[in-house]
């Protein structure tokens, strides 16, 4: 893989994601306008055609994800982007995509909910992203960037993982990461060399006909199909990625991903400045979830504080990983409110005093 870096440029998160996708060789983009991700569509409309790709504004997110289905089934590298309410509308299509094992990339720039909610940043769609791809037992690969640089890098990775596993890969980010600007350097050139897959429906020619499909009427046949998918999800576990920041000697850990991890990092630095040996455990993939990294931390620290912009979703995965070996506390802000470093620092101190009091 070529890793030479071009000059760094100052870009919005949404634009960096779009540019990274173009550099990854995306051949088609289908989307429907929704704040706070519309810059992705706008960037694609302006730039994808000049790279030979197809841009189309769909009549709805429902149509957009089904256009993704068709194009992916025809062998193209394809993506869509939306924000929380749009992801809800895409659940049907996502289920068909996992059932038919089609590679594609979905960008979710999360906003506050439920319902129409607001356009402020949120992490309240963690369950929806990580627990199921629509109805049925399917799974998305889910990558959670914490910086604009990482948003670009993980978008590139998402295309490769989608192809490798014939599975949708979602970049799960939020309204601030989508809207804010940071310097970003793009990796040059395509990632994996890509040919039109043999299973793609491109017109059968003189060869055998191909079928993109998720219907298996016989329960035994559908069970066998599902078992094969489950085996694939087990294989996907090797793609787990996480970052440990100041964890070597930590006595208390903060678990946070995406934007919240940036805030938690500042809180950890401030805790260290006060003599508290705090560390940060940051999942980069949230499905597969870094269960082992959490379990390892559990054996080391006196407690784990999970911080999210939700009512407590990833914390359930942390607790499952920790299996009761260390106290797990939760701090969350809801509805588009972003937690501050002093709030997180106070929660770290509170957790430590609770643990000492026991």
């Amino acid at each position: 893989m070529a890793t030479a870096l071009t000059d760094r440029v100052l870009m919005k998160g949404n634009e960096a994601i779009a540019e990274a996708a173009i550099r990854a060789g995306v051949q088609a983009y289908f989307g429907y306008p929704i704040t706070p991700q519309s810059e992705i569509s706008e960037y694609m409309a302006a730039h994808l055609p000049e790279h030979g790709g197809a841009f189309l504004q769909a009549e709805s997110e429902v149509a957009a994800i089904n256009m993704v289905y068709g194009a992916a089934g025809a062998g193209a590298r394809v993506m869509t982007s939306t924000s929380s309410p749009g992801i809800s509308l895409m659940q049907e299509g996502l289920s068909y995509i996992v059932g038919s094992e089609l590679p594609c990339v979905i960008i979710n720039v999360m906003r506050g909910g439920p319902g129409l909610g607001n356009i402020a940043p949120s992490q309240a769609d963690y369950f929806q992203a990580t627990k199921s791809a629509g109805h049925g037992d399917g799974r998305n690969l889910v990558l959670a960037p914490s910086t604009i640089q990482e948003a670009a890098d993980l978008t590139l990775l998402a295309f490769d993982l989608a192809d490798r596993y014939r599975n949708p890969a979602m970049v799960l980010t939020d309204g601030i990461t989508g809207q804010m600007m940071e310097p970003v350097a793009f990796r040059e050139g395509p990632s994996l060399p890509r040919e039109v897959p043999a299973w793609a429906t491109t017109g059968a020619g003189d060869g055998p006909v191909r079928l993109i499909n998720s219907i298996y009427l016989e329960p035994e046949a559908l069970e066998a199909h599902n078992q094969r998918l489950q085996e694939k999800y087990r294989r996907m576990q090797v793609e787990v990625r996480s970052e440990a920041y100041l964890m070597d000697d930590a006595v208390v850990a903060v678990a946070a991903y995406g934007l919240t991890a940036r805030i938690a990092r500042t809180a950890v630095d401030r805790a260290r400045a006060k003599g508290i040996r705090a560390g940060l455990l940051r999942p980069i993939t949230v499905y597969p979830f870094p269960t082992q990294a959490c379990a390892d931390a559990a054996g080391q620290v006196a407690g784990i504080l999970t911080v999210e912009m939700s009512a407590g979703q990833m914390v359930e995965d942390v607790r499952l990983a920790v299996e009761g070996r260390t106290p797990v506390r939760f701090y969350g802000r809801l509805g588009g409110v972003v937690p501050t470093p002093p709030e997180v620092l106070a929660q770290i101190e509170r957790l430590l005093s609770e643990v000492k009091a026991r």
């Binding site: 289908f30 289905y69 491109t202």
Partner: protein, 250 residues
Amino acid sequence: MKQVFTRPASLAETPMHYCPGCTHGVAHRLVAEVLDELGLRGRTIGVASVGCSVFAYNYFNLDFQQAAHGRAPAVATGIKRVLPDRVVFTYQGDGDLAAIGTAEIVHAANRGENITVIFINNAVYGMTGGQMAPTTLPGMRTTTTPYGRDVRVTGYPIHVAEMLATLKGVAYISRVALCGVAHITKAKRAIRKAFQAQLDGKGFSLVEILSTCPVTWGLQPIDAVRWLEANMLPVFPLGEFVTDGQKERA
């Protein structure tokens, strides 16, 4: 010995599951014959929908994608946008296209999406057991209109061909019926024109095919054909609604 009748190469050698007297088999065959005659089998991708024709991919000897309920025009759009030199068609029933899939069909037509739609209108939901469709006739009994369709409660049969014919992106639209040899011959001609419009890059093409569903209509196959003639033709006039449409390409 000269062979005068055989299975089209675009049809697979698979027994169809359709009920006796159902006209899906006839419609399948007409599409397959047209694809054969135009030499398109190897570069055509079909999109199956949800309904009795969900297994159409088993019967066509073509590359196929199976779409979610109503979404076939969006799936076909995705295929056509990345493979513009291939031939792409959807095969949809009236529940799929005219109820749950109205947004997708209207916008595919309005974009002048260069695809062909085979639209089967038998005035009823077949696969789920004979419920009211958007195309169900006034007064017609179905399992969800047991006393007959009351237009004051559930509205009127939707006229897909006429409705879509108002859109500029449409290149060809006609309504045909599978009742008798003369009509079937006309139906094949319409299907051929629709695919030819796509080959010529003119835009969206659709053939609405009035069809029978003897089982849910509660009729013998022959009676079902007569019922179609007597009851559906007055409500759904046959003919070509757009023949010379050409999307204005900038």
